[in-house]
Every structure is written in structure tokens, then in C-alpha cells.
Amino acid sequence: MKNIQIFILIGLIILAIGGYFVLIKDGSQTLQSSASSDPIVPLTPSPSPTPAVFKFDKSTDLKSELQTVNPKVEDNDFESLNKIISAI
């Protein structure tokens, strides 16, 4: 009987420690992060563009079409950002 009581006591201690870390410690972190609930700098949502639709038929020269696929990261993509960084 005494052993069962010790067993239950150990179990309750483990649950208490676990509950502390989950409920109280995480709760305080939530309070901290919600201090600025209205973001000063909300990211401007970009409107979702209509996805491009390509339709080819039997007359299409697929190899020529493939040649036009040219993924690039252009320098002028970063032009405005570079200007801002230079000005800071």
C-alpha cells in the first residue's frame, strides 16, 4: 500500500513539472510575444496572380517553346533594395 502511494506521488510530481513547463512557461512566452498585438510593419500581402496557362497543339514546335524557358534572377530585381541599403 505504501509502495502504491509512493508511486502515485512520483507520478503526480512528474505531471506537475511537466504542466509547469507547458502551461506556465509557454503561457508567459505567449504573453510576451503578444505584447505587440498590432504589428507596426505588416507585410503588404501580394495579390495572387492568375496562374499562367499554356496550351499547345500538334503544330507547336515544343523544342522552340522550351528554348524560351529561361529562369533568371535579374540584377534589376534588387535595384530598389540596393538603393535603399546604400542610402542607409
Binding site: F21, S33, A52, F54, K58, T68, K72, D77
Partner: protein
């Protein structure tokens, strides 16, 4: 004997206690994002020069906008290659739709796999966050780091799309001899 039973019971109890704790305490990517934005705003409030503050805000907006703009261009390339493959499949009467690597062994399977891989890379890139870490006070360096990270990531995705293009070309060369 009783001790063994109690130890087993204790072990089970510890396991049952820790499992929900681990699940509840799990940090999600959204948690990390929210904390990053909260830190950014907190550090932004410490910027005394209003012009500089506005420039940092604009740069932060630009980082996200550049990412989305370039990814949208990549989406067009992916869509075109997907349409090319669809048309080629139609011409060759190919109906299989295997994308898992190793499951198929035709040039079409390989092209579809790498195209799918590139498409997922673009989708993943779109949701990445490049909030500048301005906590150190060196705003120029922080913005430059974010910009370099963004450029590097976009170039990696570009590489994956070019690999897909190579595989699509191989498929076209194979089927349209």
C-alpha cells in the same frame, strides 16, 4: 516482483506524461516566424532616426516583394514546361503519371520528376521569410545579409528549374527523333 511492476508502471506513466508535453511544447514554423517579426518590430522601435526607420520598413517590404515577383516568373517557366510535357505525352500516347524518383525509368518519368521537384522548390521558396535581423544595430549589414540570403536562395531555385529544363529537353529529344 512488486518493485518491477512499479518500475514498469512508472516508466509508462512518465511516457504518457511526457508525450503530450512534447506535443504541446512543439515549436511550429509559424511560431518562429511570429517571434522573428515580433523581434523585428521591437528592434525597429529602437531606431531613433525616422527616415532610417522608414527605409528599413521599405527594405523589409522589398525583400518580400522581390521574392514573390521572382517566384511568379519561375511559376510561368514551370507552367510552360508542364504544358510542353503534357503535349508531348499526348503526342506519344503516354498516360503514366509517375513522379516518385526510381519508380519509372523513361525520359518522360525523369522529366516529370524533376519538373515536380522544381515546382515544389518554387512553392517552398515563396513562403520563406527574409526579415532582417536588425538587433545588432548595424542596419546596413543586416539588410545586406537578408538580401544576399534571398538572392542565393532564388539562384538555387533557378538551378533546379534549369535542371528540369534539361530533363524536359532530353525527353523531347528522345521522343521526337
Amino acid at each position: 516482483m512488486n518493485l518491477k511492476i512499479y518500475l514498469v508502471g512508472l516508466t509508462i506513466l512518465i511516457f504518457l506524461s511526457l508525450t503530450p508535453i512534447i506535443v504541446l511544447a512543439r515549436v511550429t514554423p509559424n511560431d518562429i516566424y511570429q517571434q522573428t517579426r515580433a523581434d523585428f518590430e521591437a528592434n525597429l522601435n529602437k531606431v531613433s532616426d525616422p527616415n532610417q526607420k522608414q527605409q528599413i520598413i521599405q527594405a523589409d517590404q522589398d525583400l518580400n516583394q522581390i521574392n514573390q515577383t521572382v517566384c511568379q516568373r519561375f511559376d510561368i517557366d514551370i507552367a510552360k514546361m508542364a504544358a510542353i510535357l503534357e503535349e508531348e505525352k499526348s503526342r506519344q500516347n503516354i498516360t503514366s503519371n509517375v513522379v516518385a524518383f526510381g519508380m519509372g525509368n523513361t525520359p518522360m518519368d525523369s522529366a516529370e520528376y524533376y519538373l515536380n521537384y522544381a515546382q515544389e522548390a518554387v512553392a517552398y521558396q515563396k513562403i520563406q521569410d527574409y526579415t532582417p535581423q536588425i538587433g545588432s544595430g548595424n542596419y546596413k549589414q543586416a539588410l545586406t545579409n537578408s538580401m544576399n540570403n534571398l538572392q542565393s536562395s532564388l539562384e538555387t531555385v533557378q538551378g533546379k528549374i534549369l535542371r528540369a529544363k534539361t530533363e524536359v529537353k532530353k525527353a523531347l529529344d528522345y521522343y521526337e527523333k
